[in-house]
C-alpha cells in the first residue's frame, strides 16, 4: 500500500467530486438529509499525510464543490476545518501499539469501531460547519439540527457502503 500521494488519490478526488456534483446533488432524503460524499476523498487519504498539504487539498476539494453549488466559500471553509482536525482525531484514535506502516483508512484493516469513530466525528464537524455557515446566524439553529443529524447519518452510511464495495482487503494488501 503506497502511503504517498499518487495517481490513486487524484482519481479518487475526481471520482468523489464528480459523484457529489452529478449524483448526490439531486439525492436528498425528505428534504433534510444531504450527502456530502466528496469529503470521503479527504478522509481516505494516507494516515501519515503531511498536514500542510492536507489543508491545501481540503481547500481545493471544498472549492471545487463550491463552484458547482454556487455557495462560494462555505464548503471550502468546512473542508479546511476537517483537514485541520483530521490529524488530531487520528492521534486520539491511535491503536495501543501505534499505527503500522501499512495501515490506511480502511474498514477491513482498522476495524468497524475505529472506522466509525473516525469517520462520524469528522463528518459531524464538517456538516455542522456547512449548515451553520449556510444560515450564517444562530436563529435558524433549531431547523439546522435535524438537518445535521440526518445528513451525518446519510453521509456515514454512503461512506461505509463505498468502503465495503471498493476498499476490499485484497486490494488494500496489493
Amino acid at each position: 500500500m503506497n502511503s504517498s500521494l499518487g495517481l490513486r488519490h487524484i482519481v479518487q478526488f475526481v471520482v468523489f467530486v464528480a459523484l457529489q456534483i452529478l449524483l448526490m446533488d439531486s439525492l436528498v432524503l425528505f428534504g433534510t438529509g444531504f450527502s456530502f460524499i466528496y469529503i470521503a476523498f479527504l478522509l481516505f487519504l494516507p494516515i501519515d499525510m503531511n498536514r500542510v498539504l492536507l489543508l491545501f487539498l481540503g481547500f481545493v476539494a471544498g472549492f471545487a464543490v463550491d463552484i458547482f453549488y454556487d455557495t462560494m466559500g462555505i464548503h471550502a471553509a468546512a473542508s479546511v476545518l476537517l483537514a485541520y482536525l483530521r490529524p488530531f482525531i487520528l492521534n486520539l484514535l491511535t491503536p495501543r501499539d501505534g499505527y503500522d506502516t501499512n495501515d490506511s483508512v480502511n474498514i477491513h484493516i482498522m476495524g468497524w469501531r475505529w472506522f466509525l469513530a473516525y469517520a462520524l466525528t469528522l463528518i459531524l464537524v464538517h456538516h455542522t460547519a456547512v449548515f451553520l455557515l449556510e444560515i450564517f446566524s444562530l436563529e435558524g439553529l433549531s431547523a439546522a439540527v435535524p438537518k445535521i443529524l440526518l445528513s451525518v447519518l446519510f453521509t456515514g452510511v454512503v461512506m461505509v457502503i463505498l468502503q465495503l464495495l471498493f476498499f476490499s482487503l485484497k486490494r488494500a494488501n496489493r
Partner: protein, 287 residues
C-alpha cells in the same frame, strides 16, 4: 529572530489553517450576497459544460412533463391569440384606441423582450437556491434581468458568461420581489423563508385591506425586473398577529421549482433609463 522562525515553523499547520479559513470567510462574505458579481460560479464556461452534460442525461427523464408544460403554454397562447384576432375583426375603432391610454406611455410602445433559456442546474432544498441557464451574454442575457416561466416569476439573473447564466431563484433567503394582490392592487413584498419550496411569505399588506384565501398574487411592475402582472401564486393562509401592523400571508407559489426546464429571461429595453432616472431622483431600488 531564529526563535521567531522556529515558532512559525512549529505552528505552520495552524497558521496556514487560519489563513485558509480567513480566505474562505472573505469569499463567503464577498460572494454570497444575492446580487453581486462572482468570479467563480456555475456560469463559468467549464462548469457550465459539465452541468449541461448532466442535464443532457437527466432531461430525458422529464421529457413527458416538459412536453405537457409546453403544450399547455401553447394552448394558452393560442387562446389569447384567438381572442385578439376576434377583437381585431370586430373592432373598427383603432383610431379611438388612443383614448384608452396616453399615446406617450412608453411601456405600451416598447414591450418587454423574452429570451428563452434551458435550465441546466437547479436546486430547491438549500437555504439559498440558484439556477444555471444555458443562455448567456451572446443570447442577450444581462445581470439583473428578471426570469419567468410559463407559470410565473422565477428569479433574477445574477451573473452571466458568454454561454451561461446563474439566476438567483425566488427561493433565496435574500431575494425580495415586489408583488401585489391582483383584485385590489395592494402591493407588498414576496419573500421566501426557507423550508417548503412551494410556499412563500407576502409581507407588508396593511391591516385595512381584506385579503382572502385563493386571491391571486402578481408582480407589481414597480421595478424594472419583472413586467407587471406576472403570476406569483395564490394566498393559502392569512394570519393577523396582535403585535404587527401587517398581515402575515402565506402564498402558494405558482411555479413548481423542482420541475423547471425552460424559462424566459425578461429584457426591459427601457431599464437603464428608468433606473438611472429613479436613482437620480434619490429613490433606492426596492428590489
Amino acid at each position: 529572530m531564529r526563535n521567531l522562525f522556529a515558532f512559525i515553523y512549529r505552528f505552520r499547520a495552524f497558521l496556514i489553517f487560519v489563513l485558509l479559513e480567513a480566505l474562505c470567510i472573505f469569499l463567503i462574505v464577498r460572494y454570497n450576497t444575492y446580487q453581486g458579481a462572482a468570479m467563480f460560479n456555475s456560469a463559468n464556461t467549464y462548469v457550465g459544460q459539465v452541468l449541461e452534460f448532466q442535464s443532457g442525461v437527466t432531461d430525458y427523464f422529464r421529457l413527458a412533463s416538459v412536453n405537457s408544460t409546453l403544450a399547455r403554454e401553447n394552448a394558452a397562447l393560442r387562446q389569447e391569440l384567438m381572442l385578439y384576432r376576434e377583437e381585431a375583426e370586430a373592432d373598427s375603432t383603432a383610431q379611438l384606441d388612443t383614448t384608452l391610454y396616453a399615446p406617450t406611455d412608453t411601456l405600451k410602445a416598447q414591450p418587454f423582450i423574452l429570451h428563452a433559456g434551458r435550465v441546466i442546474n437547479n436546486s430547491v432544498r438549500r437555504t439559498n437556491n440558484y439556477l444555471t441557464l444555458a443562455a448567456g451574454s451572446q443570447d442577450g442575457v444581462k445581470p439583473g434581468m428578471g426570469v419567468i416561466s410559463p407559470n410565473g416569476a422565477v428569479g433574477r439573473v445574477k451573473t452571466v458568461s458568454k454561454k451561461y447564466a446563474t439566476v438567483t431563484s425566488l427561493l433565496h433567503s435574500q431575494m425580495l420581489i415586489s408583488a401585489k394582490i391582483k383584485k385590489n392592487n395592494t402591493f407588498g413584498t414576496i419573500k421566501w423563508t426557507g423550508g417548503d419550496y412551494r410556499t412563500a411569505l407576502l409581507d407588508y399588506i396593511p391591516l385595512h385591506v381584506k385579503p382572502e384565501i385563493g386571491d391571486t398574487i402578481v408582480t407589481s411592475g414597480y421595478n424594472t425586473v419583472f413586467p407587471e402582472g406576472i403570476n406569483v401564486g395564490t394566498i393559502s393562509k392569512v394570519d393577523r398577529e396582535a403585535d404587527k401592523s401587517f398581515y402575515t400571508i402565506r402564498v402558494q407559489l405558482a411555479v413548481d421549482f423542482a420541475q423547471l426546464s425552460y424559462v424566459y429571461v425578461v429584457e426591459n429595453p427601457l431599464r437603464v433609463e428608468r433606473d438611472s432616472l429613479e436613482l437620480e431622483a434619490g429613490i433606492q431600488p426596492n428590489e
